[in-house]
């Protein structure tokens, strides 16, 4: 039963990844592409955190409950793996940085072209260039 739940969790996360890749590729609207990209990044992060999880009953966060050597043995037996969590914090920050940059670029594209549809943007660009020459 537990392994069924575990595999449902992992497979549904993988399915979310695939759907968000579809969103990035197929949607013409830049904001929708950005939303799909955010979903992709967050799902990948959740997947990495899951790698460090332990399926045992009293499972604890990786913070020492009290500062004594006596508590350490119990702590190592029940705490989850801290390494994936630390890596995910790095990934979250970088994902946020990328999102800020893309959001600014999208806003600027909207201001200049007046549309968010990539097909329209592709059509308007040659016109703008020609107007510069003339």
């Amino acid at each position: 039963m537990i392994s069924l739940l575990w595999s449902i969790t992992i497979v549904s996360l993988l399915a979310t990844l695939i759907i968000s890749v579809y969103g990035i590729v197929a949607k013409p609207n830049l904001v929708k592409k950005l939303i799909a990209l955010t979903i992709f990044g967050d799902t990948a992060n959740v997947l990495v955190v899951l790698l460090g999880y332990r399926v045992i009953y009293p499972v604890k966060p990786p913070i020492l409950p009290e500062l004594s050597k006596r508590a350490l043995g119990e702590f190592v037996k029940t705490a989850v793996d801290p390494l994936p969590q630390a890596l995910v914090i790095t990934a979250v920050v970088i994902g946020m940085a990328v999102n800020i940059l893309i959001a600014f670029a999208v806003i600027q594209i909207y201001r200049i072209y007046g549309t968010l549809d990539v097909r329209e943007v592709g059509k308007t660009l040659p016109e703008l260039l020609r107007r510069e020459e003339a």
Partner: protein
């Protein structure tokens, strides 16, 4: 109806694959050896970071250089965003002209004032206890940036600028934070020859709680830097659209 069919197909395929895989998957019950090493050493042991919060000690000590460059990436992204919205001197002067008059009803404005004070306290608590409880510089800084955002929403950005927090100041505070991080990382190099070494130059314990050596300093500077960086971004984003269209020469 077409959408529903697609969704149902995805659901059924996912469930099928999950049931098929469930026969072979064993949920993990043990730690990886590296994780166990960090758990044992973060406070006790020879390679100690002197912090009971294992995630923070990995983040700023065991894999500190990693985080240093991650911070660099984050601030490069903010610099990139500022460059995309680059204004020259007259334009940025013009962007500051405006009436600092609240647009919303009185209760909203008063609540904003109270909430800003409380959020500042909460964010400082998150950042300064990063070595003890979950949280840290980045999380605290993100919470800090909510305060100027609320002020912008309730009072307009001109009120923020009239009271002394404009884009230049925000960038200066951000630079102070970055400089602090760099200095904290480089100080051990002068004394013992390691980069980002947090013991024993910085105090491991003070005022009754473990400080985690340099961890508290890193968290504090990251807090300032992230909060101010986001504030600069919000100030740029809140310039009215008409002004930007005028600067860019867009007629639509």
């Amino acid at each position: 109806m077409k959408r529903l069919t697609g969704l149902l197909t995805i659901l059924i395929i996912t469930l099928g694959v999950a049931i098929y895989l469930a026969q072979n998957i064993i949920p993990p019950e043990n730690l990886h050896p590296l994780g166990e090493y960090y758990l044992e050493n973060s406070y006790f042991g020879e390679h100690s970071a002197k912090s009971p919060e294992v995630v923070t000690s990995i983040l700023w000590d065991y894999r500190g250089v990693d985080t240093l460059f991650e911070t660099a990436v984050f601030f490069l992204a903010i610099i990139g965003s500022l460059t995309i919205f680059r204004l020259n001197r007259e334009q940025s002067e013009e962007a500051k002209q405006g009436e600092p008059k609240p647009q919303l009803p009185e209760p909203v404005v008063v609540v904003t004032k109270l909430t800003v004070a409380m959020i500042l306290a909460v964010s400082a608590s998150i950042a300064l206890h990063g070595q003890l409880t979950p949280g840290g510089g980045f999380q605290g800084g993100s919470a800090l940036a909510v305060a100027p955002l609320l002020v912008i929403a309730a009072y307009t950005k001109y009120a923020l600028e009239k009271n002394g927090l404009d884009k230049t100041r925000a960038i200066i505070i951000r630079s102070i934070g970055l400089l602090g991080i760099a200095l904290t990382a480089l100080t051990p190099l002068l004394v013992s020859g390691y980069i980002m070494q947090n013991q024993p130059i910085f105090p491991g314990e003070a005022l009754g709680v473990p400080l985690g050596g340099s961890l508290v300093l890193y968290n504090l500077f990251e807090y300032l830097a992230v909060g101010a960086g986001f504030t600069a971004v919000f100030l740029l984003l809140s310039i009215p659209e008409e002004k930007f269209k005028k600067f860019l020469g867009v007629r639509r």
